[in-house]
């Protein structure tokens, strides 16, 4: 992949990340995350009493609302909501507050590509790292296919001895969510996984550092 990217990045470069938390007053938790020009604002409310009809009352229900910048909410927003909800459900401990609902609202402030999954959640629910190949909007339109990958954030930075192994593979290398669009060869997919994993280290390190001052110990 030796193409020249528009803003001069090499194929392996991420855009600069910024993250700030507690940006809203009414929301119980809020943060804003930006990667280059793409910017997303997230707010969390909860837990509220009661769960929706079809949800398991033994667990917390996570409700996600995705608000685009302009226009009506359509199918793609519903899709993002569903993906995000499933991802969050797999990383949060759901049995802590049974029969409650936690509301997560995402507002897209600026969309310059790779908007989905640019979410930073702060309210002590969980620490997680989200990874994307990070294409800018124009690149996204030209690309034949791209996968969205979500990796777990490793608690230990990079210490092979300490991490638990599952079937001979490091657990940190598991994938939480993978959504692909377009057709790609299997090799390319694995290639993307590799790169995504490397990028994940950076982003989770960044996230950890930004969360550190506020976490106890």
């Amino acid at each position: 992949m030796e193409i020249d990217r528009i803003d001069g990045r090499t194929p392996n470069q991420l855009r600069p990340l910024t993250c700030s938390r507690n940006v809203l007053n009414r929301a119980h938790g809020s943060s804003s995350w930006s990667q280059g020009d793409t910017k997303v604002l997230a707010a969390v409310y909860g837990p509220k009493a009661g769960t929706k009809k079809n949800e398991n009352p033994e667990k917390t229900c996570i409700e996600v609302i995705w608000k685009p910048k302009t226009g009506q909410t359509g199918k793609s927003e519903r899709e993002y909501e569903m993906i995000l909800k499933r991802t969050l459900q797999s990383i949060c401990i759901l049995t802590v507050n049974p029969n409650t609902t936690t509301l997560v609202i995402i507002q897209v402030v600026n969309d310059d590509g790779a908007v989905s999954f640019k979410v930073a959640i702060c309210c002590g629910l969980a620490e997680s790292g989200y990874v994307i190949l990070d294409p800018a909007k124009l690149e996204e339109q030209k690309m034949k296919a791209f996968p969205y990958l979500v990796f777990p954030n490793s608690v230990l930075s990079v210490l092979p001895e300490g991490s638990p192994k599952v079937e001979g593979e490091l657990m940190e290398n598991g994938i939480i969510t993978s959504v692909t669009q377009g057709a790609m060869a299997v090799d390319n997919y694995f290639h993307c996984l590799e790169r995504g994993r490397a990028a994940n280290e950076k982003m989770s390190a960044f996230l950890r550092r930004s969360l550190q001052p506020q976490l106890p110990g």
Binding site: R9, N12, L17, T18, G36, V109, E201, S210
Partner: protein, 451 residues
Amino acid sequence: MEQRLANSWRLTVNEKKFIETALLPALRIDGRRPFDYRNLTINFGKHDGSGEVQLGQTHVMAFVTAQLTQPYRDRPNEGSLSIFTEFSPMADPSFEPGRPGQAAVELGRVVDRGLRESRAVDTESLCVLSGKSVWAIRIDLHILDNGGNLVDAANVAALAALLTFRRPECSLGGEDGQEVVVHPPEEREPLPLIIHHLPIAVTFAFFGSESSVVIDPTHHEEAVTGGRMTTTLNANGDICAIQKAGGEGILQSVIMQCLRIATVKAGDITEKLKKAVDSYNTERALKKIKRHPSSTLMDVDGAHSNSREKQSPPAFKKATSEFPSHHTRKSNKLENVEGETNSSEQRNTTKNFIGGPSSWDPYSKGVDPDFLKASLALRGASTASKKQEVSKNEKMHGVAKLEETTKDVNEGFLPVEAAQAEQPTRGEKTLKDAVKPKNRRKKNQSSTGAS
């Protein structure tokens, strides 16, 4: 279903009484006088036509977009203006997603009346081809945080977005001159909308007990208030709209007094709005000019002034933005990663570290602790907060070195870096760019530390 989920916030009787009693000697719970506005900050987004307004704790964002459509039958020569209000659930736990509720519709109507019926936005200039093709302007108002007085904030946000919006230029082409050709911004400079005057909404809240009137109620005061009135007027003293929907009866003399006060306030807000838009426009114009990279000293000064002011003076910003692109990308990139992520999240974590009210300013340059440190050396000014940042700096540097070494081990052939956008004209990169010289200094420090 939602009623059972929503834990609606209710004001207690004690709080109510406290607010009402405090108003008797003209004291408000946040310390303002009855006719004082909260702090108003206006920021703009990356693209034309996006404005973000912060009125105290209230946050509103507005986005303006335009599309070519067919005009209404009875107005073939006029474009249209439509306002969509989103009371996002993130603003208030009682806001529900889905169809806009009563308050949302009312807000949309008040803003709409101020803009359209007072002919503030010139719709005839939006006509491209009479009877066939006109521009339809769409304003999306997103309420992000409900701190009270959403109407005023939303109105200012809509105006800010409209003033900075640029629509693409189009001309008639084709065989019979009936085809509309829209020129992309690269070809022809997009045009601003024609706005004749700026209608500003000023909201008053009435409290029954002693006929106290306050301006710009917070959401605690709104919960106590007996009646509310929104007057929309412009700096020329013309009254564009008055909205008083129900609530207590008010004496005519009180209404006239309110209108007089509103005229003064509208003038103030118009001033602020114009200043903000002017500085944005100058920035925008300067962005188009490519400049040569300037000296390091300029960087530090520029960033220092950035840290002082919310709206960076365009001259400084432009001068500093050019500096990095040539040198730094080739230089030690790993170093840059740390510098990038360090500075950006340092900047933001120190915001949290300092605490206090959340000041979400995604478009302002914020305070860069690296630069405060550098500017300390230059200016010799220091505050306690800066010292905290400096100590944080050192801590972060320690972390940075550790991570660098582990990264070196593992990276191999996959260097993943935080990139620097190359266009030298991007003002937004100022602080990060400006961090680059600091990186070199850090490199020296670390090398001297190691040796």
